[in-house]
């Protein structure tokens, strides 16, 4: 048996054992339907195991690096406001919730929206105090039958946020989730789980920001489920700026009813190995989804974005633009699947992925997949991967702009198509700053 295989089993057994330990602490609660569901998810994880590159969905993303690190699964370091200074996003206002190594930190967090506008609780508390909401939504959207990481999260997640927006309410302040991994002392794994339920004709903005402290390895396996009722509207941003030893695997699963609108931007700036799944089911007429993405790997970073839009009902609309800037020996993956079901006539679906590769050592794999079973639809897709336009560089230099400056200006402009979509201004400004810094390197 080769060593990597042994460590694969070690890690898997460690995760299975963690579930058992949790279960033994539960007393009577292990009989609840909620726990039975988690047990089913665990069994599914056991059955599926971690995916290898022989798995079609993981062909270009090899997770085996995960097994070379030994992770602590349940660590709860205490952070002070002082520890967070370096991670601050300037001028950020609203409901700001901190999670450290996956655990909610009430003393660092601020919930400012009144409870009649929105109920924001941590996952553990919602399981105890709002079992109806949990039982009618938890694991209802994110499929754990096929995806081992979602199964693992469904079984082991013990914290995260649960947001419930009642009908006809516009939540004025955004909800910002700050997931901080403190890997200063040890290798840390966490499994955050979020659930967002937006009522009829209600509106909310939410951002998930992932950061790390320290240089040890980290592994975040996050799942966010979002259910939008009729005419609900949501802005959703996922922002990743993690360490050079960070593994991040995440699934955002969205379920949309009639006339609902979902706008998302996924911005990945740093991390060692990142896999984002964004899956949207347009299960209502005139439902609309907009997906933007920006990824900028350098060094040996690997960033993989998988998106899936399932047009299940007629007259729905989706539009997608992902952009990548790849440098050094980094690798990128974009896989965009559009599924149009037989009933989903008059579907409009547009997909575009554009990449700039700055070095001969960097590479990008793009794969659009359109599966169309209705006949009256408009769908288009396009991917481009190229170098920075030399003609544009020369044009700018001929006007007096130095080469590095011209290069940064062109790349910054390239990123703006995505960043300009972000409506939470302090987050957009923060990203613009980090993008500028990274382009200047």
């Amino acid at each position: 048996m080769n060593p990597s295989y042994a460590s694969y089993n070690d890690f898997k057994n460690q995760l299975l054992a963690a579930f058992k330990t949790n279960e033994e602490r539960m007393n009577g609660e292990s009989k609840t339907p909620f726990h039975q569901l988690r047990r089913a998810a665990l069994n599914q994880f056991d059955l599926l195991g971690f995916p290898t590159i022989r798995h079609e969905e993981w062909k270009y993303s090899n997770v085996s690096g995960l097994f070379k690190e030994a992770f602590v699964l349940d660590s709860t370091p205490v952070l002070t406001a002082q520890d967070l200074v370096s991670l601050e996003i300037p001028n950020l206002d609203g409901n700001i919730l901190y999670f450290v190594n996956g655990r909610y930190q009430p003393e660092l967090s601020h919930i400012v929206s009144p409870a009649d506008q929105v109920q924001i609780t941590n996952f553990a508390e919602a399981v105890k105090n709002n079992p109806e909401l949990i039982s009618s939504h938890f694991a209802n959207y994110a499929d754990y039958q096929e995806n081992a990481f979602t199964a693992l999260n469904t079984a082991l997640a013990n914290d995260g946020v649960v947001v419930h927006v009642p009908d006809n309410v516009t939540v004025e302040q955004p909800i910002i989730l700050r997931f901080i991994t403190d890997s200063r002392e040890q290798n840390v794994a966490s499994q955050p789980r979020n659930l967002v339920v937006v009522g009829k004709n209600a509106e909310v903005m939410m951002a998930e920001s992932f950061r790390t402290l320290g240089d040890r390895a980290s592994f975040v396996n996050v799942v966010t489920e979002i259910a939008l009722a009729r005419e609900a509207r949501m802005q959703y941003y996922k922002v990743q700026d993690e360490s050079q030893k960070a593994y991040h695997i995440g699934t955002t699963q969205v379920y949309q009813a009639d006339n609902s609108h979902f706008y998302s931007a996924t911005v990945t700036l740093n991390g060692n190995f990142i896999r984002n799944n964004l899956n949207i089911v347009l299960n209502g007429q005139y439902a609309e989804a907009f997906m933007y993405g920006l990824y900028m790997p350098n060094g040996r970073q690997h960033i993989d974005n998988h998106t899936l839009v399932d047009h299940a009902m007629p007259n729905s609309y989706s539009s997608e633009l992902y952009k990548g800037i790849l440098d050094d020996n980094s690798t990128g993956v974009f896989n965009g699947k559009i599924f149009v079901r037989p009933d989903a006539q008059k579907t409009n679906a547009y997909q575009s992925c554009k990449n700039v590769v700055l070095s001969s050592g960097a590479s990008m794999n793009t794969k659009p997949q359109l599966e169309i079973f209705a006949d009256d639809v408009k769908c288009s897709h396009g991917t481009t991967t190229g170098q920075l336009n030399d003609e544009a560089l020369f044009y700018m230099r001929s006007r007096g702009i130095p080469k590095d400056e011209a290069r940064s200006l062109l790349l910054y402009a390239f990123s703006q198509d995505v960043l300009s979509q972000i409506k939470i201004q302090p987050i957009r400004e923060y990203l613009e700053r980090v993008v500028t810094e990274k382009l200047g390197q």
Partner: protein, 249 residues
Amino acid sequence: MLSISNLQAFIGEKQILKGLDLEVNAGEVHAIMGPNGAGKSTLASVLAGREDYEVTGGSVLFDGKDLLEMAPEERAAEGIFLAFQYPVEIPGVSTTNFLKTAMNEIRKYRGQDPLDAVQFLKLMKEKMKLVNIDQSLLSRSLNEGFSGGEKKRNEIFQMAMLEPKLAILDETDSGLDIDALRIVADGVNKLRSPERATIVVTHYQRLLDYIVPDYVHVLYQGRIVKSGPKELALELEEKGYDWIKAEAL
């Protein structure tokens, strides 16, 4: 101001310029004419510093400095401006932002303080009148979706903003209708001054009705084979280039 001697340049394996000589003094307008493939655009590109060309011999002095040693941005800062035959579309960067960056980089090179927003806008308003260009065009992405005429007008607008010592117009007349041509030529003429010089590269005499040159040079097979006063352009228009080719042999 500009002194080119025995200039030789290759693109790939092919020699385009084969020993070109040219002297341009402040206050002068020189027209470079010649048949297709003579090397006209190559000359313009080599002077601006396009890296696709390899200079293998000769020298180019600009105000006594070795131009060939300079990066394109240094040449711009020294006062050279190339109006492109095919201006490049730059998505996401507005003309305003582009020009502000360019001007302040040039000012930095010259040891001057950057222009603040108020000074810049004032200058822009002044120069916009010169080429009859609309504000809305300038806040759009540079050249993106511009018509041929708008692109060329934008080139002349940039030239007016940057106030170069030596302007090189590369086939600025190509793709322009007569009204656009007149506006562009008008802009160029307003910028003429005793301190500045202009090189007009063109295939047709038409542009020279509006921008009247002091000297006309015929470029053929990589060298200047004939020079004369502005009347030479008319002669070329009438007789074509064949007699020059015959003379050159």
